[in-house]
Symmetry: C2
Subunit: 377 residues, 2 copies
């Protein structure tokens, strides 16, 4: 039966990272537990909500862990409750000792807490993924690609495939695309290192957990695939996510090369103007903002009969092409601008009824966003 | 019709302070608005939820306000919406101009926002309070008395009078008492300055807003009473609250002078032990912690059959009197200890079925708390 002692702070960090995969209310009650497996040389904590799973390993060799393993074993403990108990312990170290009937005795300072655990045999088995021929990616780059695309995926289950991010590796070009059919975001990057080509759709919800699981001190992650799962792995953390089944729509056909009107804005200025517009447009169902590009000026207009209206002249960095009046949901433009890290943004229009394109002014090829206008009378 | 310009930041501060009295959803829809009254030399913002009302005055003489009044008047604007709009404005200053039909045009930088307002005649009239013979109190002292007592008031409407804090002034002794019938907190202070005696019950909910309304730079407040209302007033802020009707129970009879057992604890240590106990006791309905005072040791015990148990030896500073075993809800002790600012706490017991008393070790008279034990078998 398990017996080990460990530094409280480090144990808590690992538990909290694992908890990201654990839902406090799950249709499968056993998934609200954390699995604690103690081996000869390390402890592995596992959490899963059925969609994503996280395994976190603390090795005896990690000096900060102060981990001393006296006896191995495995047990399940109610995750939230266990984490609250651990963080309340009075001393810097704790002793974890299993007694009969899967009970666990935690000793720290003068405090002794006995918790009921569950038989580890009740825990579902995670699907295995072959871990040969990894694709190695910089954690920072992957986080950035996720934050540039995942927000554009659909939140609605009416077309489940659109709740995912379409990620492909094709002849060293790593490409991520998400769309909810009103807007689209596509980010690509050419990798130096070779790996087998692939084509998967990852739930955007899973990807949004990625940044929380892999902290900035983890420089690279290895990526592995099976038919139904993906695994991101660092030295001590394995992050599994299910893949979405089905064919992702062809988004390449949406990207055009010729435009009628081009305007460059300061990203922050345009965003704050759109946030004002949104406050008023939001009062009307499907409220839109109207952008008027005339001669040498651009202005934004909102009219929500119940609450009021906005008229604002927008500063531009440069402007060229035909005059144009186009209406759209300002939320899409706000979110697109949030995803842009560049100081300036190039917006290119074709017509009032065709999607318009946003790109950073310093990279018009690798990061492209589209927003579909709303037809008004 | 109103016309003024003002510094955005200062206007926003005053609006946010006023908003503390405004509920976004109120049974009386007009109370979701803020009243803006512009006079020759100042602007007064008023918010109310029917229970509390706040008036905030910005004078032309306040240089930080950059207030320039061109034309006076009054209008009502949807508070939350108006505050969001003001905080989104692009420039440091804004111009506020009323046009026809209670509409307001806000101009800031190149942005022009038109909002629908309402006729000020629709706003309820706040009851007047005679403002002669004020009781002047230090803001800091009053905030401290509120935080030491208001938490002990009842949250349940079954006995409405217990949702209030009983505040009396009797021959220069200012006393605040709150109880929910399970625990009680009494704080008193002897004032230097004279004022008429009084006896009121103020809703604890109103008092909890006090600290947010009167910031730390406001040194003193004047206090005024009418039969049904109380007014706290500083130079620019008036805070009104309704009083509770009815007789407050006699709490003086609960305070006894002789005890059987006395223990002094370090406040922080005892609190963290009780927080651990609470994690486990909380898993059982009406879960309690049992304190065992035997010979020279004090220990805490919790047993929640579903989740586990806690056994903990408690460090004490000193201990005297008879042995005793007593059970109580640890939440009450945790909240009582939170309200204590002293490093050490004196706890005095009479018997397992009589309330026990908490006082700071450095002041056993002016701040007394009682907790009623739970009878167990």
């Amino acid at each position: 039966m398990i017996n080990f002692s460990i530094n409280k702070t480090l144990f808590l960090q690992a538990l909290n990272a694992t908890k990201r995969a654990i839902a406090s209310k799950n249709a499968i009650p056993i998934l609200s537990t954390v699995k604690i497996e103690v081996n000869a040389h390390d402890i592995t904590l596992t959490g899963s909500n059925g969609q994503i799973s996280i395994e976190n390993t603390i090795p005896v060799s990690d000096e900060n862990a102060g981990l001393l393993i006296t006896s191995p074993g495995a047990v399940l403990l109610e995750a939230n409750f266990f984490i609250n108990i651990i963080s309340s312990l009075p001393d810097l170290t704790l002793e974890f000792r299993e007694i009969d009937h899967h009970q666990v005795v935690l000793t720290s300072g003068k405090s002794e807490i006995t918790l009921k655990g569950k038989d580890v045999e009740q825990y579902p088995r995670l699907q295995e993924i072959a871990t040969d021929n990894p694709l190695v990616l910089e954690t920072k780059l992957l986080k950035s690609i996720i934050s540039e695309t995942a927000f554009a995926a659909s939140l609605q289950e009416s077309r489940p495939i659109l709740t995912g991010v379409h990620i492909t590796l094709n002849n060293k070009v790593f490409k991520a695309v998400a769309t909810d059919s009103h807007r689209m975001s596509q980010r690509q990057v050419t990798l130096d290192n070779a790996a087998s080509d692939f084509d998967v759709v990852i739930p955007s919800k899973s990807l949004r957990e990625f940044a929380g699981v892999f902290t900035d001190d983890i420089e690279t992650v290895e990526v592995f695939f099976s038919a139904s799962q993906m695994l991101f792995r660092s030295e001590h953390i394995s992050f599994y996510t299910r893949l979405l089944e089905g064919n992702y729509p062809d988004t390449d056909r949406l990207l055009v090369k010729t435009f009628e009107t081009e305007v460059i804005f300061n990203t922050a200025d345009l965003r704050s103007a759109m946030e004002r517009a949104h406050l008023i447009s939001n009062a009307t169902q499907n409220g839109t903002v109207k952008l008027e590009i005339v001669d040498n000026s651009v202005s934004a207009h909102v009219n929500s009969p119940e609450v009021g209206k906005v008229n604002e002249e927008l500063d531009t960095v440069s402007q060229s092409g035909s005059d144009l009046t186009i209406s759209f949901n300002p939320t899409y433009l706000i979110e697109a601008l949030k995803a842009l890290k560049s100081e300036e943004v190039l917006i290119r229009f074709i017509s009032p009824v065709r999607p318009f394109t946003l790109t950073p002014t310093d990279n018009k090829e690798d990061f492209v966003q589209l927003i579909t206008p709303v037809r008004t009378n």
